[in-house]
Amino acid sequence: MSSTEQGTSSAAPAEPTTAPESAAAPEVPESFYYVHGKDKVVHKVSAGALQHSALIHGMISNLGYTEEQAKANPFPFENIDGDILQMVVDWCNQHKGKPTPPEDTNLPKQKEKLFDLVLAVNYLEIKELLTYCCKQVAMMVKGKSPEEIREIWMIPTDAEDEAAEKEAKKRAGKEAAGETAAAAGDAK
């Protein structure tokens, strides 16, 4: 695993920021964790930012990592594209310790990216970001006709669906027949 500092995301905050506290209170250093996606690029994220993800938050609580252990064992999210994970990390950093606004206009407009983001966010259990993403998905079809929606979201018609199902059944039948014939050949 290439969890080197060179691989650390540039989008991650350079230094953890702490909320101003009273002079008497001792400053508690913020702890950091490390995550990587399919591209193995490691992102350093503060525990505060990761609070947004119920999944990662749960992992942190269960594992009880020290700073050193966390650095040596980045959380692997092999099923999330690197650029999507980068977006998620950026969002978590931007909204660290802040109340989330009612709208988020910085989400990708590109369909594929948005759907990937939705799935990643759902997987990472980031409730607020998922709400924004779903809103954005809904906005994609605003004012569109069923035909236009079918085209935008690549939804097959019922006829196309049925044809594909038939084809799949036919293929499965052929494969099963082939396997039976092979088994009979082996028996001989």
Partner: protein
């Protein structure tokens, strides 16, 4: 350390998501699709519903709340005006193509939960057929029928779910109360009223239904009637069980010793005995209620029935 990695590996393995993401709507899990549909306005939901069978059932499984709904069907058009919340913009509008309108109307009934729903369907045989053919439920807390006859009122009320709390029927069109009283939703509703009724049978028939069903204390029926004789007909029908009677009220006992039924005539300085429109309020009351506890201010409950008419008559007599 390897122990930690093992634990982590096991954790990620147990999470139910495939290793590769697809990027189409069709590859999204149903719960995400539902979340997205939940963020759409009604017209977009209608469009998504028309894309494919799977989408149709998803859209129809998601209820959406509206504060006001006004559905009008005339010989020329079908108009469905829906307002999500007070002061929000209207979500739906007129359909010149009435058939398309009905298709939409059925979708609305299927997915919308109304706070207040007003229906006005006049002289359209096809509308009645469409209502009859609708097999789903209609959800509204308060429902009002305007110029609708039994062919519209009865099937719609039969399709209402249990959330209905008040029913108002404007009986300018011919209305037969017997058929309405057989509907379970009417038998269970805590409040309902008939306005501008043209027969004198409503009061005693409603009271009889309450008697038969042992209706709860607090159940109310109000009526405005265009002809004389409803009060007298009620008194005659329940002659044997009258507990007390005056010019304004008749109180009868019921089979349940804890409950009485009280009929009140709406009489005040504006609505006098000779007024062409008669107002009545029928209530199931606790048997121990004293005469001194009666509400003598009929203006309030009449005003709620016909607010504009009351103001008009006040102006007339001043």
């Amino acid at each position: 350390m390897s122990f930690d990695i093992d634990k982590l590996a096991e954790k990620t393995k147990n999470l139910s998501i495939g290793p590769v993401y697809d990027t189409n709507w069709c590859d999204m899990p149903a719960e995400i699709k539902l979340k997205c549909i939940g963020k759409m306005e009604l017209s977009e939901r209608l469009s998504v519903r028309c894309t494919a069978k799977a989408e149709r059932s998803l859209v129809e499984s998601q209820k959406v709340k509206f504060q006001y709904g006004n559905i009008r069907v005339t010989s020329m058009f079908l108009d469905a005006s829906l307002i999500p919340k007070y002061q929000d913009k209207i979500a739906f509008r007129k359909f010149g193509n009435v058939n398309k309108g009905f298709e939409c109307l059925k979708f609305i009934w299927k997915v919308v939960v109304f706070e207040n729903l007003a229906i006005k369907i006049r002289d359209r045989a096809d509308a009645k057929e469409e209502i009859m053919s609708y097999t789903g439920k209609i959800s509204a807390k308060n429902i009002e029928f305007d110029f609708c006859d039994n062919d519209v009122v009865v099937p719609i009320l039969q399709k209402m779910d249990n959330s209905v709390e008040s029913i108002t029927v404007n009986a300018e069109a011919d209305l037969a109360v017997d058929e309405i009283l057989e509907i379970t939703q009417v038998q269970n509703v805590p409040f309902w009223q008939i306005l501008y009724y043209k027969k004198r049978d409503s009061l005693h028939k409603v009271a009889q239904m309450w008697l038969d069903k042992n209706s709860k204390v607090g159940t109310i029926f109000k009526a405005s009637v265009k002809i004389n004789g409803s009060f007298e007909e009620f008194s005659k029908h329940f002659l044997d069980c009258i507990v007390s009677k005056s010019e304004k009220r008749v109180r009868i006992s019921t089979n349940n010793p804890d409950r009485h039924i009280l009929l009140e005539r709406g009489l005040d300085d504006v609505y006098k005995m000779h007024h062409p429109l008669k107002f009545f309020r029928l209530m199931v009351i606790p048997a121990e209620m004293k005469d001194s506890e009666y509400d003598d201010n009929c203006k309030e409950w009449i005003c709620k029935m016909v607010p504009l008419t009351y103001k008009y008559f006040v102006r007339m007599i001043m």
